[in-house]
Every structure is written in C-alpha cells, then in structure tokens.
Symmetry: D2
Subunit: 291 residues, 4 copies
C-alpha cells in the first residue's frame, strides 16, 4: 500500500464533505488517499480535495445514505448539476469498492459487478452513532422539560446502543434513571452501570420523561393512559417506532418522534463516523489481503 | 411553630407558582403553611392555594425577582389586574417577613419597617441555580455546535459555581474540558475534579467551544482574534459580561450572551430553588429564635 | 405459587449463608420460601432459617461452587460434621431442582435424574460478579502502586464484563484508561464510554498499571520485555490466565495473578449475586410453566 | 531567571526524592534547577541529582514534614549519617528561601533570618492531598467491608476537601452517598454534586460505612450507640479526630483511625504534590518580583 489510493465522495450533504475531510486528516497518518468530490458545487469543495473530472479510475467510491435520486441519478442536494449513475460507472473498474448507506434494489442492480458495502449495516457505526443520537435526545429533553434533567425521574425503554449511551450521559446530569428491558443480561448490565431496572408492568405515571429506544409497540393506548399527560415521551426508535402517536394525541400525552438525530444534531461528527467506519473496513480488507 | 403560618405569593410568573407548590408539598412534611396567591388570574391558581382577599395578615410574603413595576405596583405579568404596594401593606404587621429578589431602592423604602430578605443574595440559591444555568448552557451548545459535545475541546473561563456545575455535566458527555482561572486554589480543585487547567496566555484557537463564566472582560479584541472564528463563545456571566460583542461581530466570532437561563430552561426548578432557599431562611430564623 | 417453597442451602461458606439471607429478605416481597441450612455448625445458622433435619422434601437445593469434597461428601468448610450426597438425596423427589457452581462429573452422575443448573454458567451472574472483581482489582492496585490511581496511565487488555466494570470505576478515579481489544465493536463501545483504544502492537512501557482480563497469552516474554519493570501487571483472567509468570519473574516485571476476587473482596455481595441469579432462574421457570 | 537556580532537598523519605524528581522534570520545561540531595545514602540518589558537598550556596532548600530530629539534626531516615542544622546553615545566604512542613519552634528560631514557608499550610497542597487521602480511604473500605462499595449506603460527615474528593470517587463506584454538614452552602454543593444530605440528628444505624472528615467530636458515646456495631467507621480527621475510640471499643463499633494516608498510599504522588506546591510559591514570588 505504498501508492496513494484514489477515493471519490459522490453526492450527499455536509456529512459527506466531513467524511472526506476525515480521510484527508487520516491520510497524513496512515492510509494515504487522494480525495475527489463529485456532486458538490465548487463553493463546497475544500482546498485539499479535487473536483471529479470523469477521467479518473477510483479505488473507492463513497455514496451517501440513500444514494440514488430519481432512479438513475446520484443524490446530490449540494449541487446544481445532476450526476447520473453512468457517469460514475465510467470511473470504476472491477476492483473498485463502493460504500453507501441503505442502498435500494436499483442501486444494487446497477453495481452488481462490484463489491458494495452498506456502512449503515456495520455495528460499529451504529454504536458510534448512538452518541450524537443521545446528545440530540438530551437537547430535545432540555427544550421540552420545565424542570432540570438533574433530579428528574427518567425511564428508558430498551437498553441497546442508544439506551446505554443516553443513560451514561443522563447519569452525568444527576437524573434518576430507570431501565425497562426484558433481557436478563441487559438488566444485569444496567445494575452494573448503577441504573435502576423495572419491568413493563411497573411503568406508571411517576416519570417526568420517557425515552423509548425499543423498536416495539410498547406505548399503546393502555400504556399511554398509564403514563398520563404529565410525562414527556420521546421516541428514538426508527420506523415503525414504539409509540401509538394517534392515541397519544387523543389522550393528551406529549409524544415526540425524533428521527435522524445524528445528522441533525452533529453533522460533522456524523460524517466522521461514516469515514471512520469505512476506514476500518478498508483496513480490514487490507489486513485480510496480506494476512 | 404549631399553628399554620400564612404565606402570600405576591406576583411573578410560573416560577412563583411553583415556589408556592413547593411550600405546599413541604407543608405536609415539616413547616406547615397556608398558601395564598396575589397577582395571578384565577386560571393560574392551583387548587391547594387560596386567592388573596385583602383581609389576611401574613407571616411571610414572597415577591418575585424585580418585585416592582411602574414604581407603585407589584410585578404581576400573569394578571389582568394591577396590585399596588399599598394593598399588600394592609396585610402585614410589623412581624411580617418579606422575601424578594433584587429589590430596587423604592421597594426598600416602602417596606423599611419590615425585615426584607433578598433571596438572590443567598449563596445557596446561587449554587443551586448553577445547575439550571449549566443545563441551559448545554442546550445552547448542542444547538450551535456541528460536532458532538463528546470529544469536543471546551474551555471554561472562571471556576466558580457555574463553572463547576458545567464542568461536571460536560465530563459526563466525554468532553475534553480545560479550566482557565487565576486562583491557585481553584486550579487545585480543577485538578482534583480531573479537569485540565491553563492560564489566560495559553488560550488559543484550538477550542470548539468556550464558556465564559467570569465577570471580567477576558474576551476583548485581542483575545477574540486569538480564538478565531471557528470557535463558539457562550457568555454566561451576568452584566456587564466578559465578551466584547462588538469586536466579536467585526471579527466574525460567533458569540452568544446567555442570560436568565434558570428561568428559561427550567422554570419549575427555578421556582423550587427560590422556595427551598426561603424555607432555609425561615428555618434558620426559627432555630435562632429557640436556640 | 401460593404455598411456601422449601429451599435447602447445602454446604459452602459465608457466601451461601448470605445467599440464604437474600432469599429470606426476598421471601417477604415476592417468592415465598422456607429456608433450611445443611452443613453449617449451629453457631452459623441465622435465626430466620431452619436446620436441616433430613425429613424434609425440598423444592430447591443450593450447593456451593465446587459442590463435592472427597467424592461422596458435600463441600462443607463451616461444619464439623460431614454430609454425604446420599443424605441429601433422601430429601429430594423428581421435581427438586438443584443449583450449584462448576459441578464435576461425579456430581452430575449422582443427580442425573434431576434438573441441575450451574449458576456459574449464567451470563447475568458473571456480569454482576464483574463488580466485586473490579473492586478487588482496585484494592490490589492501590496497595501496589506508589502513585494515585488518579492521573495514572492504565491499560486494560480485553473489554468484556470485567474490563467494562473496571474501566467505569477507574474513570471515577480520574485515571487515564486505554483499552486494548481486537473486536471492532468493543473498540466502538470503548470510545462511546470515553476511553482510549489501542492495538496490541501499540503496547509499550508507558503504563503505570496494566490489567489483563483476556483469557489469552498476551503477556509473553516479548511483551513483558516491552512493558518493562516499572509497570505493575495484574492478571484477572481465569486459568490459564494471560501472563507468562515465569518470564515475568526473570525479567523483574511485577506481575500479580488475582483469582477468586468476588468471594475474597465482598463475600456478602458474592452470595447475594448467587441468590439473585437463582431467583431469576426460578422466576423464569415459573413464567414458562404458566405462559 | 536565566541562570539555573540551586535547590537542595535536605532530608526526608521517598517523598522528598520524588519531590526532587518532579523539579528535575519540571526543570526541562520552565524553571531551571540544579538539584542536590543531603541526608540520603548514595544508593538513593538518582543519577540526575547531585550529592550535597557543603560548599554550595543554595537558592532554595526543601526540608521534610517535621524537619528536625533530636533538636539540632535534620530528620534523615534514609541516611546512616547525621546532618546538623549548622551544616545546612553554611550553605545559605540571606536570600535563601526555606520550605518545610510543620516546623517546630526550634526550627523557626534557627532560621529566623530567612524566609521560611510551611508548604503544609498552603491550601492548594491540602486540596491536592485530598486525592491520595481519599484513595487510601477507599483502600481501607474495600479491605474492611464484606459487601461491595457499589450499592453500599455510605455517610460522610463533613464536606471539605477530603469529603468532596471522597464523594466524587465513591459516586464512580455506585455507592449511595449521604453528606452530613452543618453549612448551608456545603449542603447546596452536595446537592449540585448529586449527593444526598442529612442532619446530625438523622444519623442512624442504616449505613454500611461512615467516613468522618470533620475535626469535631461527632461520634461520641451516644452517637456510636445510634450507629451500632454493623457499621464500619473510618476517621480521616487529623488529631484530635472525631471519634471516641474508647467508647467505640466498649460498644463493639469497628472504628479505624486512618492518619497520614497520602504518604502511605501514594508516596510518589505525595512528593510530587509537595514539589508542585513549592514550584507554585517560587513562581508567585518571581511574578511579584517582576510585576
């Protein structure tokens, strides 16, 4: 790996530019990259990166989360011009490795001869993304709550990545945090982390704030009635979520569905996490190559 | 102290109502109070409190922060009707103790025959208020910063009440926190709390975020030039503050002056802190009486 | 489950008595138990427990870790008299459930007609045991180190249960903690927990203290030479451990093998964890029965 | 301050040698020192320091805590030979500044023509020393308690330097910590730090462990009867302490008087704290000189 590898950032928003900046910084330390951008107007292109000309052959191409738009174009919200999938294809050979988030079937079909990695499927990305998600959740809580997080009674349903990251931050605030999880092991971990635990049947109206992180319909009509209208309920679970928002409306429960927090609350960090994950995959591939 | 004491909440906003609610809760435990409200429209009066009729004699009267409006009226933003100082005076005798925040000279003169306590002068109130201030500061930071608090390089200038409370919360986020203080003792405390310390001359452009808590003009033109336009600067010091905002504007430094955070970020908690402080003063007086 | 269940604590040390006490306390809340002790001299029997007479039939029998001694006797270090396996067998029927830790083949054969649960195999027990292990490890560190844990540079190799519990406590001390783990996911978790990460090849002589928690020979002759004789090395991995102690002796590296810490540093807690785990298993069985 | 200053470490134990080593490290960064040792056998003298010959004139001389032995000799436990005060006096001029800990009247009289600083009187030293004291206290607790610090109910009486440092570490263990202090401000701080507070009259037998840090006789016969014999009581207050040990013996309360913890639990850190304090004093003097 003595020569510089060519990497193309193809489309996306601020996050992808910071992804590129991460590669540039990293390039001075270990892996060495030449970084190109496609699908960004000139004003967005940092001085250390090159503009894609269409004549290069790339080792790696990084697409955004949801890489396609209108079926045959790359998703390029920061560009006046469109870039078609075919333009990108011209800059690839059979060794080019593609990275993207949540590709649809069309994308997979277009690039079926190449190695396509969905970085959003990587566990380490989802673990690291739990932090900007948790910080975004804290932001919403401070906004919504008329009391301090300190001394608030807070319930977190689910104790996976987001539940753990969030509980850790809330402990620093001095909140009184309880975890509801069905997993015996997760309950043991919650105790080790000095958190309270409860069962689903224990949930009542005593909480100032509830975060749902479990992708299961826990907060149905009956449960919403139990928690009452003095509790703020923030759903952090991805679709279909864990809250019956229609019933919440009827019952006067203040329920908020917070999606896409990493990109909203910390776009630079979100971009760097994508880059860090891709870098790890590249390293893994290299290690396997020479092991 | 066997009989119930009569306490009047005279004017103010939501905070004062929660102050009253705190007395009510507390009343079931130790001190016993009958709680009256003046200067609030009926819809704001909780069921456990009485409406002031003008015929009671009160043991204690609680005024809001900045108690007067238009010189002779009580500051009553939650009421359609006005209440004059004279109406309140009729419900006092020489033993009535008055509590208020930051009274002006007029207020002092009106009530010069009574014991007037400025609760905003009490150290314990200011210590407890550091928490809602710090939470409000965290809220602004998450809003302004494109990166997570975690791993951010943060400087806090000053290490008094707010600096300490803020540093404690930021440690829970995993921020890299440095304290700038001239006091040798404060530096030792910062080290004990596992924080970095630096001197004024060490401040540079390496910080993602700077909180000023010191009531001194630290961030003048020269210093603002040193920290540069990539740093976000949040001034938490009360007037006159510690930032030359005019120069900040010229130099393109993003500077935010955040005042009155406790009341904004957590009005219930802010009201409870006022109540807790007053309760402490009442207890102290009682202890002295019988000691 | 309306009737009281009969439970026998058969042999073991202080931990088993505290296991029984936990059942007694718990008995007042949910599950209801009559608790008997066998294999303890009278002076050890708490007033709320009964002495085993040989005439009862038990629903549950709890044996210690390593339940047998001399092949046919129960391991009873707190008793002058011996109890044979056959005496216990008389008090069982086919529904009796047996709990023990690390049974050998003989034990399994003796009780092959009954349901035998090895509580030491339960993940939740091992998670909870990580805490007394970590506290015991901290105890040894303070004893051995001529500097404070605060500001010490500490490496933890492995980031499983013990590594996580230990890192969490050391953060509270203000230590500078680095995690060495090969797992990409564990590295992501370590970052989320605000810890540094490194690779095996990065390990050098800069650490004041190293805890090994990985059951793999990481600290062989070459690695011990790298860490040098100024570092204290504490091996918390169960047999065969992760340190070449012979080479450590030759190279003058201070290496300590710390085994069985939960029972040593906190016998009451260790007994309660066994009880808590057994209670969970009993509950699980009950739930399944009626589900 | 361009020339190297001459500093003499005169007597003391390991702490003083580490004090010298700190000056040496520091010497490469800011202040520049030539470091000499007196009162240590040759084998203790590190390679970067010189042996005192009796012919130098020193700018600074550092004596140990309790600097004299047998009235006219320096306290030199690490030396076979004695050094008299007169030998030291020959190496001073009127500008030589002396540092020592807790000098007696004789010492003051001997050196009454020079500037003598008692570093043990400096607040920053006592703040920094709270950390090794707290770590030593944790060590004793783990040794004495049959349960984990996690989940233990712990009372700290007094909330000064040691109380704060100790509470901070115990929070990291997940202990349930209550502070008893008479100061209203300290109570407010304890709440900000997410600790419980109680009054003297609330102390009862519910604590697993009590640390006394207040230099006042709190634990007299009556109080010891209230806390009972199941609680472990560790007195960290310097003489005369806060526990009636005679009554504790009669009542069967396990009470431990832990003195001199910094030097015992972390001699290197204790020495570095002395050096850091002296360095601060020297810097202060220099600043004043040129300001």
């Amino acid at each position: 790996m003595n020569d510089k590898k060519k990497i193309l950032i193809a489309g996306g928003d601020l996050r992808q530019i910071y992804c590129g900046k991460y590669f540039f910084k990293s390039s001075n330390k270990s892996e060495r990259f030449d970084i190109y951008l496609a699908g960004f107007d000139d004003k967005y292109i940092p001085e250390n990166m090159k503009k894609f000309s269409g004549n290069e052959i790339f080792d790696f191409i990084v697409f955004p989360v949801l890489p396609l738009k209108d079926d045959i174009y790359i998703n390029t919200p920061f560009s006046k011009d469109k870039i078609s999938v075919d333009e990108i294809k011209k800059c690839m050979n059979s060794n080019t490795v593609l990275f993207c988030g949540k590709p649809d079937k069309k994308f997979i079909d277009f690039f079926n001869e190449n190695n396509v990695c969905d970085y959003m499927e990587r566990e380490e990305l989802n673990i690291l993304n739990a932090v900007p998600t948790a910080e975004g959740a804290v932001y919403i809580s401070i906004e919504e709550m008329p009391v301090t997080l300190k001394n608030s009674k807070i319930l977190i349903t689910g104790f996976g990545r987001i539940g753990k990251a969030l509980a850790d931050i809330l402990k620093g605030f001095g909140s009184d945090v309880t975890i509801m999880t069905r997993s015996i092991e997760s309950r043991a971990w919650a105790k080790v982390m000095n958190l309270k635990v409860c069962e689903k049947s224990d949930i009542d109206s005593s909480y100032n704030l509830i975060f749902n992180t479990a992708p299961a319909m826990i907060f149905d009509y009956e449960m919403l009635k139990k928690i009452g209208s003095d509790t703020i309920l923030i759903d952090l679970a991805s679709k279909p979520g864990g809250v019956d928002f229609k019933s919440a409306g009827e019952l006067g429960v203040k329920a908020i569905w917070a999606l896409g927090l990493p990109g909203k609350s910390a776009p630079i960090t979100a971009g760097e996490i994508i880059a860090e994950t891709i870098e790890g995959i590249i390293k893994e591939r290299g290690d396997n190559e020479y092991d």
